[in-house]
């Protein structure tokens, strides 16, 4: 068992697709709230293989895409300081701020490093005590344990030249916000499997019950995605509204207890503005007061920041599932992965980038 080829089997995929087709008798809209799943669905053409009545709506599941513009501008200002080595995940480096992006800051002489893990940034801080090393700690509940551990190790090693610019976002409050919107058309959700490996399934159980909506914890391989969709459709057709776990090989009901304990030590819940969506109450994590010494926002005073979004970009509507990337007039013309206007065109988890990579040369689908 390698957990890859087995969950890519075309014959089993056909069985799942046939079962979905047999069960679907009415139009349904199902949202995935994970950029990894959006990428998988578009890459494998899963949406095009489903019955016509079944619509997949892409949710705000790309962490780079929803990081507030004001925070990116703050990152750019910190990264431009001469004493700072600014470390970030690669896909954040090209996300446009109000006036520039991190790669341009690097081209202009700023010390910007692309790293794979916050531990890489921690090592840089240990190696060069003369530099102030800052890590851009963005992401959902899946990324937060890594950043919490980086803070813990920095404290244990008594590092004074390491800090985190934290802008974590949480999935359940976003689902809550989507369901509470008056024009909500989403009837069922695929919950992000890897977020649940950390947090478990409890929060989604209560969401499903309160909003009477089926939620299925779903993995990332083609068969996982199809099984998640099949279970949501089954519930919708039968009037069910419960939390189910279709990714049991990776997700336990209580999540990862060790990670949750460390997360709770380091972070506290806060209100967060989501780029393209707006403020969502209690939808983020920030460093607790006890960790203020490792908070880049407090360490570096960069003055007042006025954020300006580009007018042509429809990223906000794409992120809320109100339009598809190809409906944006800038898609593939003014906005491409090389010259992105909005964040969803940058990250491989962004819906616009996925459509650009796999769909831009395609003729319209005739069913």
């Amino acid at each position: 068992m390698r957990y890859l080829d087995e969950f890519n089997d075309p014959a089993l995929a056909r069985s799942l697709l046939d079962d979905i087709a047999r069960r679907t008798t009415r139009p349904w809209a199902v949202m995935e709230v994970c950029g990894g799943q959006t990428h998988g669905i578009i890459r494998h053409g899963i949406d095009q293989l489903l019955p016509e009545q079944l619509t997949l709506v892409h949710g705000p599941g790309c962490p780079v895409c929803v990081t507030p513009l004001e925070t990116i501008d703050r990152a750019l200002a910190i990264a431009a300081r001469p004493e700072v080595t600014f470390c970030t995940f690669g896909d954040m480096a090209r996300v446009p701020g109000s006036h520039t992006d991190l790669l341009s800051v690097k081209a202009g002489g700023g010390d910007v490093r692309l790293v794979y893990s916050p531990l890489d940034a921690l090592h840089l801080a240990e190696e060069d005590p003369a530099r102030q090393v800052v890590f851009f700690a963005i992401g959902f509940e899946t990324t937060a344990p890594a950043n919490a551990m980086a803070a813990t190790l920095a404290r244990d090693k008594a590092l004074t030249n390491f800090s985190l610019l934290v802008s974590h976002v949480l999935v359940p409050p976003a689902i809550e916000a989507i369901l509470s919107a008056p024009d909500c058309r989403v009837q069922g959700f695929l919950a992000a499997g890897h977020v649940c490996t950390v947090m478990g399934t409890g929060q989604y159980e209560s969401l499903a019950a309160r909003h009477h909506v089926p939620i299925v914890v779903t993995g990332f391989e083609p068969l996982d995605l199809l099984e998640g969709i099949r279970r949501v459709v089954t519930q919708l057709e039968e009037g069910g509204a419960e939390l189910q776990n279709a990714y049991a090989r990776a997700v336990r009901p209580a999540g990862n207890p060790v990670a949750r304990r460390v997360l709770d030590e380091v972070f506290e819940t806060c209100d967060r503005t989501w780029r393209g969506i707006g403020a969502i109450p209690a939808s983020g994590w920030r460093l607790r007061e006890e960790w203020a010494a490792f908070d880049a926002e407090r360490r570096f005073d960069v003055g007042g920041i006025t954020a300006v979004e580009p007018a042509a970009c429809r990223a906000g509507e794409v992120l809320q599932g109100l339009c598809t990337p190809t409906e944006c007039p800038a898609f593939g013309t003014a906005c491409t992965p090389r010259t992105p206007l909005g964040a969803p065109m940058v990250s491989s988890e962004g819906a616009c980038a996925a459509y650009y990579q796999y769909r831009r040369l395609e003729a319209p689908v005739i069913r």
């Binding site: 890859l4 494998h44 995940f89 794979y116 344990p145 551990m149 049991a248 060790v258």
Partner: protein, 103 residues
Amino acid sequence: MTGASPSDRSPWRRREEVDEDMCLGVPGRVDEVWEAGGTRMARVDFGGVRKEVCLAYVPEVEVGDYTIVHVGFALTKLDEASALESLELFGQLGRLEEEPHTP
């Protein structure tokens, strides 16, 4: 499974960009485990690409286990029994279709 095999027009193929997709949670096999400054670390093999990974959050993981890794941290141990159960269920769906339908 009824009808012609869809494999000739299968929309999915083998993953060739393992490295790029790693942050999207590709499973990897733990090849080697060691201790560094009180933290358990591992060498994890992602279909040929090997990465150093922190095991602080998965104390139960041993050499030979498969795990999901996110930005350098293993987050969960994959459970083979659950995986086989899912595949068995998918197989049953196909066999159900082959049975003649009663009107």
